[in-house]
């Protein structure tokens, strides 16, 4: 109680005031523009401090941390199921995908493997989260660039996916469905047929977006050649997911890693694009949604029968050890480094979130671009604040 004393609180307030004063100063050599933290373009409370010369950026610096919730500290006082519930909220648009790597890491340490039906259903829900997440990206892409219509189609079609997730797990945004050893419960009746219908609707949605947005000449001229990230720079910064594949790196953790999930049981392609510009990133994500719908269709055809939960003790104590599991989340590579010392909760969890690395390239990338291009680049890099700030 006496640890966060008055002095500390006063220091915190003083630093906030100092940071706020930066906004008001008008400097003569170029203008310092504050984009955010409240701004329609940034997906959340991201603040970008840009020094402009007219309409060109001299340097730009993202200032993250407006949404820092202290996840890694919180995990140290929670049990594994509690951490699962907590971790849903890192990437809140595709939230089932956040639970999976953590549960897999805990299962690795315990030496249990979920039954194959549970693995299948996990993969289906994982891909559904990806579809929900990226379809919102596609709609939001239009809004960032000025086309106000596609976003409504995106939200309308995303509702179908969210209804599916709610039917299976009980929660639209925070399913909290994964458990060490399997899943909380089995799928409801009618899920498989309903999912097939929804996948058809989403393929139609992808076609619509391709027509409406990607085929538009203005969109192309706004995104082609903007924000080119070469391959080696992308790897050095740790960019992952669609951003990396759009720079021509043929690497997908679903295919190139062996995890107890069902991706290697179905037939699908990894999509890359050689250009590395904003258009490439958007295009790769669009095609990935299409591929995801095909993956889900194939998985639905081959769900094995069986239990959805392995035999695990009632009170779960994970043996000592360290484990790292990362998966190809909608935003990129998300991984958990779980350190356990034999307790009911982890000793230390390092959450490696994709958007943190994806945004770390922004200072390098934004030199010399125009102000509208800042928005285009940020939109194409696609981050979620909860993922950056944890």
């Amino acid at each position: 109680m006496s640890l966060l004393g008055d002095r500390q609180q006063l220091a915190y307030i003083a630093s906030q005031a100092a940071d706020a004063r930066v906004n008001v100063e008008l400097e003569t050599e170029g203008m310092t523009l504050n984009i955010g933290p409240q701004h329609p373009a940034t997906h959340g409370t991201l603040r970008i401090i840009a020094r402009l010369d007219g309409e060109q950026v001299i340097w730009a610096e993202p200032s993250a941390g407006y949404m820092h919730r202290g996840y890694e500290k919180l995990t140290e006082v929670r049990t594994y199921p509690q951490v699962t519930a907590l971790v849903n909220r890192i990437d809140w648009l595709g939230s089932f995908a956040n639970e999976v790597p953590f549960i897999l890491a805990a299962e690795k340490l315990m030496g249990v493997e979920a039954p194959s039906r549970a693995q299948h259903i996990r993969t289906i829900l994982f891909e559904l989260s990806r579809i929900a997440n990226v379809s919102l990206f596609l709609g939001d892409l239009g809004v960032q660039l000025g086309a106000v219509t596609p976003v409504f189609f995106a939200f309308r079609d995303r509702e179908y996916v969210l209804n599916l997730i709610e039917a299976a797990t009980g929660g639209r945004f925070h399913p909290n469905f994964d458990r060490i050893g399997g899943l909380k419960e089995d799928l409801p009746a009618g899920f498989i047929d309903e999912t097939r219908n929804v996948m058809k609707k989403l393929r139609t949605f992808c076609d619509q977006i391709e027509d409406l947005l990607f085929g538009n000449e203005i969109f192309q001229s706004r995104t082609r050649g903007i924000g080119v990230i070469p391959k080696d720079v992308a790897l050095q910064y740790g960019m992952s997911g669609a951003n990396l594949r759009a720079s021509g790196v043929d690497w997908d953790l679903r295919r190139d890693q062996s995890l107890p999930m069902a991706w290697n049981k179905v037939d699908w392609k990894v999509i890359t694009h050689p250009d590395g510009d904003s258009f490439a990133r958007c295009w790769v994500r669009l095609q990935e949604v299409r591929e995801s719908t095909r993956i889900v269709d194939q998985l639905l055809d081959t769900i094995p029968a069986g239990p959805v939960m392995a035999k695990v003790p009632k009170i779960i104590k994970v043996p000592e050890g360290e484990a790292w599991v990362s998966t190809e989340n909608p935003l990129g590579e998300m991984g958990y480094y779980v350190v356990s010392q034999g307790d009911m909760g982890p000793f230390r969890v390092k959450i490696r979130s994709a958007s943190f690395n994806n945004i770390s390239i922004v200072p390098w990338l934004l030199k010399g671009v125009y102000v509208p291009d800042i928005i285009t680049i940020l939109a194409s890099l696609y981050f979620i604040l909860g993922d950056i700030d944890r």
Binding site: G146, I218, Y370, P372
Partner: protein
């Protein structure tokens, strides 16, 4: 509705009152129609939603609800804003709309003023709104507004030129700068000897029509030319700091100007308030019956709705241009094409 010489019996003050009322209606009725029909309903239907449905049947009273909402807001302005400039900026923008509508003919005798150089006046006065936007951007003491105002200045001035050049073709073909004269020339004229449709310049001056509509889209700062507003970057650009009644003036002004420009476009290209004279056997302005004074505004209104439909439709479909792409488009594409158009028009006018 707008009678200049309706009857000699009315006193001067009555005539003036009528003109003022007529002017208000001529500006506000298109604004209201466009806002309800296109902004509320058409945009919503395009986005697979219903739009306002609560206020009145099918949300028809929504506009009044909006006006009431804006009117009852607190009149605030930024502490460091230049108060006088901040307050008059929206009025300048609205003033240009009223100045524009003064020269639009609504019927054979229903007009406010009948300039011999109506087109010239119209093009000159449409630039007054640029001043208002610049003043709004500068006086708001806000970096975003400043950026929006500067972008607007560049864009609006750049797109004045294609507009002017597109209209020159019409003037060459009509042989007069008088707006009423242009209407008569279109409807009394004939195409290759057939006068069933008159001579609407949208057919012969199609290129000019397209350029004019694009330039109008840019003059109204509508997407795809809405860099000055650019909602996802500048959060309303030069209008960011305005709220309450002042924002309402900007809002109404935007759509009123859209309506007035559509009216002007229909006068210049679609034949204005008239239908082809051959349908009724008229040959010139004096032949026209008096009922055309009532029907004329309605016909003009219909044509205006059609053209603003196109403007709004493009607005809701396209992403926006970047500022330099916008300028490049104006200077390197639109102006050369309109110059070629003028040349060809002149050649054909002499040849045929």
């Amino acid at each position: 509705m707008n009678a200049a010489v309706l009857s000699a019996d009315l006193a001067y003050w009555a005539q003036s009152l009528l003109r003022v009322l007529g002017g208000l209606v001529a500006v506000l009725l298109p604004a209201g129609t466009i806002v309800y029909l296109f902004l509320f309903k058409m945009m919503s239907f395009m986005q697979s939603r219903l739009g306002p449905m609560e206020a009145g049947p099918y949300g028809s009273m929504q506009l009044f609800a909006e006006v009431g909402k804006w009117l009852q807001k607190e009149d605030i302005y930024p502490a460091r804003a230049d108060k006088f400039l901040f307050k008059i900026a929206p009025l300048i923008v609205l003033a240009s709309t009223f100045l524009l509508v003064a020269v639009v003919p609504f019927g054979p005798d229903a007009w406010f003023t009948d300039f011999e150089a109506g087109v010239f006046y119209m093009l000159a006065v449409s630039s007054v709104s640029v001043l208002g936007i610049l003043i709004a951007g500068w006086s708001s003491a806000n970096k975003y507004s400043l950026l929006g105002g500067l972008r607007a200045a560049g864009q609006l001035i750049a797109y004045e030129l294609p507009m002017v050049l597109a209209v020159v073709g019409v003037v060459i073909q009509a042989g007069t700068m008088n707006m009423q004269g242009i209407v008569v020339a279109q409807n009394a004229g004939s195409m290759f000897g057939w006068d069933g449709l008159g001579n609407p310049y949208v057919l012969t001056q199609f290129v000019g029509f397209v350029i004019f509509m694009i330039a109008v889209q840019a003059e109204l700062t509508q997407t795809p030319f809405d860099m000055p507003i650019a909602e996802s970057e500048l959060v309303s650009g030069y209008m960011t700091e305005y709220s309450g009644f002042r924002f309402l003036i900007f809002f109404i002004g935007e759509f009123a100007t859209a309506g007035v420009f559509s009216m002007i476009a229909s006068v210049l290209f679609l034949g204005g308030w008239a239908v082809p004279f051959s349908w009724f056997g008229w040959t010139n302005l004096n032949d026209i019956d008096n009922w055309m004074n009532v029907a004329g505004p309605l016909i003009l209104f219909t044509k205006m709705v059609v053209l603003s439909f196109i403007i709004m439709w493009v607005r809701f479909s396209f992403p926006r241009f970047r500022e330099d792409q916008l300028q490049r488009f104006a200077w390197k594409v639109l102006i050369p094409v309109s110059l070629v158009n003028i040349m060809l028009t002149a050649i054909f006018k002499v040849a045929f």
